[in-house]
């Protein structure tokens, strides 16, 4: 069922033919200018366009819906207080602080390990079984769902530290390790070999070479990994539910700020956890307020990654 439609080519051909004084009978015969247009092609093209449009509509719809319902909830009290039963008010200051704690501690743990692993894989290891095993486990780690990390964290770190920020942070560190390792590795691969040969040829030690040449050159890649990791941490919930707990309180400052350190050993619910709890309690206003803030953070992080990537390209 192929219908043949004459397209632009045909028209111009016709025009040329007329101009050059040819008769119209040529137009009806087979010609290489006669382009076949299949109906199936048209349908497929329309389907492809609809699918592409779908993802845009999805994003616009999600953001629009969340912002529409959430923007009105956000005010100074929402951002700067903790929930109070006495005043019957709600605020997410505690959750914001907990999320920041989780981001900082997770990154402190995971960045050195991830970067170190990438350096080993790219600079020291010779291709072989060990590298294959390390790369396979890194891949596997990135494929394990967060709920499994949550269970593991609960059994191991939860029994060590109880529900606490530190238990949550270590669990998250395992989760984002592949992100850091892979991005650093990619960045190290782009450092030209002539840098290495040059430095080693002048008698530099390997560690010196890594410290002064490779790491600075790989910095944008490391930063990308870190920013992506922050995005993952901010959005994570299943791995934190059973490890970091759901406390909404702000840390006490203490006399010399020791309360800020003690907080690390205390439970603390992140923004996502509070969103989940609000949702479970049918407090949808609160949930949309938090969702709005999460979306804004996600968009900012996405923008930063783009900026870093762009700088990486222009260099």
């Amino acid at each position: 069922m192929e219908s043949r439609v004459f397209e632009d080519n045909k028209k111009t051909l016709g025009k040329n033919a007329m101009e050059s004084g040819m008769t119209a009978t040529v137009m009806g015969s087979e010609s290489i200018f006669q382009k076949k247009v299949r109906v199936k092609d048209g349908i497929a093209q329309v389907l492809i366009n609809i699918c592409a449009l779908f993802s845009i509509l999805l994003l616009v719809g999600i953001t629009g819906y969340v912002f529409y319902h959430g923007i009105g909830v956000i005010d100074w009290q929402f951002l700067s207080t903790v929930p109070s039963f006495i005043n019957d008010t709600f605020g997410i200051a505690g959750n914001i602080v907990n999320t920041l704690y989780l981001i900082i501690i997770t990154l402190l743990i995971v960045t050195p390990i991830g970067v170190g692993a990438a350096i080993y894989l790219n600079e020291y290891a010779r291709p072989g079984k060990i590298v294959r095993i390390i790369e396979f486990t890194t891949e596997t780690l990135s494929g394990i769902p967060s709920i499994i990390f949550g269970l593991f964290g609960m059994v191991v770190f939860g029994s060590l530290f109880g529900y606490s920020i530190i238990a949550g942070a270590i669990t998250l560190a395992l989760m984002v390790l592949p992100l850091i390792t892979r991005n650093t590795q990619e960045a190290l691969k782009t450092v030209p070999d002539s840098y290495r040969i040059g430095a080693l040829g002048m008698g530099a030690e390997k560690w010196y070479l890594i410290r002064t040449i490779l790491l600075p050159s790989a910095m944008p890649g490391i930063v990308t990994g870190v920013v992506l990791a922050i995005g993952r941490i901010v959005g994570e919930s299943a791995a934190l539910l059973f490890t970091a707990g759901s406390a909404q309180t702000l840390p006490f400052f203490g006399q010399y700020g020791e309360g800020l350190i003690e907080k690390i050993g205390q439970p603390g619910g992140s923004l996502t956890i509070q969103l989940y709890l609000s949702m479970s309690n049918a407090e949808y206003d609160q949930a949309f307020g938090i969702a709005t803030i999460l979306l804004i953070v996600v968009f900012i992080i996405n923008y930063i990654t783009k900026l870093v990537a762009k700088r990486l390209q222009t260099e």
Partner: protein, 309 residues
């Protein structure tokens, strides 16, 4: 000669201490991932197997009655396993065609300017936290499903009304959530297809669409297969987005039944479970973990095959 400085003497023994320490530290870092995967595997097995033997393997895996808090507790998770399989399959059936066609759009047919709108949109979709998808599913999809349910089962007294929290809602949420994964990986697979295949096909007189569907997509099949399997992995492992949307009752996976997935079973009961009940939840975790490990191994196989070709 022995005391003189020689370029030859610089063997491994001549390395500075800082050099050796640095290398050791890097090795340790590199093995962190290995240690993590090994200990996760170990702990999942240790905490997941006792219940299997205590309750009996057939009573857990092949029984469909889930009543852990009854006077005679029953721990059959067959329905839960089936739900995860059926739900994931359905989500993949919906999500993969949309995802692959979007990837075709981005890699083959899109004008540059349009692609530069669609691609960031996909990236942003990937970044949205799963709880936000859950919130929207709960407040947008569930009411729609409830209306559908009222329409379909209006005269049916045997139907248990779910308020829209059913398998169908969860499947739609999952299908949307796997889209970014499928799109990204399929797109890079399609881009990796060498241009001479396209030119030869076009030179033989095939149209652009024929070239895409008969030449480019078959050539990119291993990458697309990896995208599908990774999508499956993402759908099987998703917990928070669907835990409230799916209704959380361990029923047979029928479209308008309130159902419970492997992941949501853990999320919704872990906080109040204890004793054997908690151990069974860990068994559910172990089943989920096995699924994921199989999927991981399949993905690496496919990707390896792809690079060998």
């Amino acid at each position: 000669m022995a005391n003189s400085v020689s370029v030859m003497s610089k063997g491994s023994a001549g390395k500075k201490a800082s050099e050796r320490i640095a290398e050791i530290i890097f090795v340790v870092c590199a093995f962190a991932a290995v240690a993590a995967v090994a200990s996760i595997t170990l702990y999942m097995i240790i905490s997941g197997t006792p219940a299997l033997f205590q309750v009996g393997i057939t009573d857990i895996l092949f029984s469909s009655t889930w009543n852990p808090t009854g006077s005679v507790p029953e721990y059959g998770i067959l329905n839960v396993i089936l739900t995860s399989i059926v739900g994931t399959a359905a989500a993949v059936l919906i999500g993969v065609p949309i995802g692959v066609l979007t990837a075709v759009f981005l890699a083959e047919t899109a004008p540059k300017r349009l692609a530069s709108i669609v691609r960031p949109a996909v990236e942003l979709l990937a970044g949205i936290p799963s709880v936000v998808y859950g919130l929207l599913g709960l407040l947008i999809l569930n009411p729609i499903m409830y209306k559908l349910e009222l329409l379909i089962y209006s005269g049916d007294p045997s139907h248990e009304f779910t308020g829209g929290a059913n398998l169908l809602s969860a499947v739609l949420v999952l299908a949307i959530m796997i889209l970014p994964t499928v799109i990204n990986i399929s797109e890079s697979a399609i881009r990796a297809v060498p241009d001479h295949l396209r030119s030869s096909s076009l030179a033989l007189g095939a149209t652009k669409i024929q070239t895409i569907f008969k030449v480019v997509l078959p050539a990119a099949r291993s990458g697309i297969a990896a995208a599908v399997v990774l999508g499956i992995g993402r759908a099987v492992g998703e917990a928070m987005a669907i835990s409230l949307v799916s209704g959380s009752v361990a029923n047979l996976p029928l479209p308008f039944n309130s159902v419970r997935f492997l992941t949501t079973a853990i999320v919704s009961e872990m906080s109040y479970s204890s004793g054997l009940h908690r151990q069974v939840l860990f068994t559910i975790g172990l089943v989920l973990f096995l699924f994921i490990m199989i999927i991981n191994i399949v993905v690496t196989r496919i990707l390896k095959k792809g690079t060998e070709e």
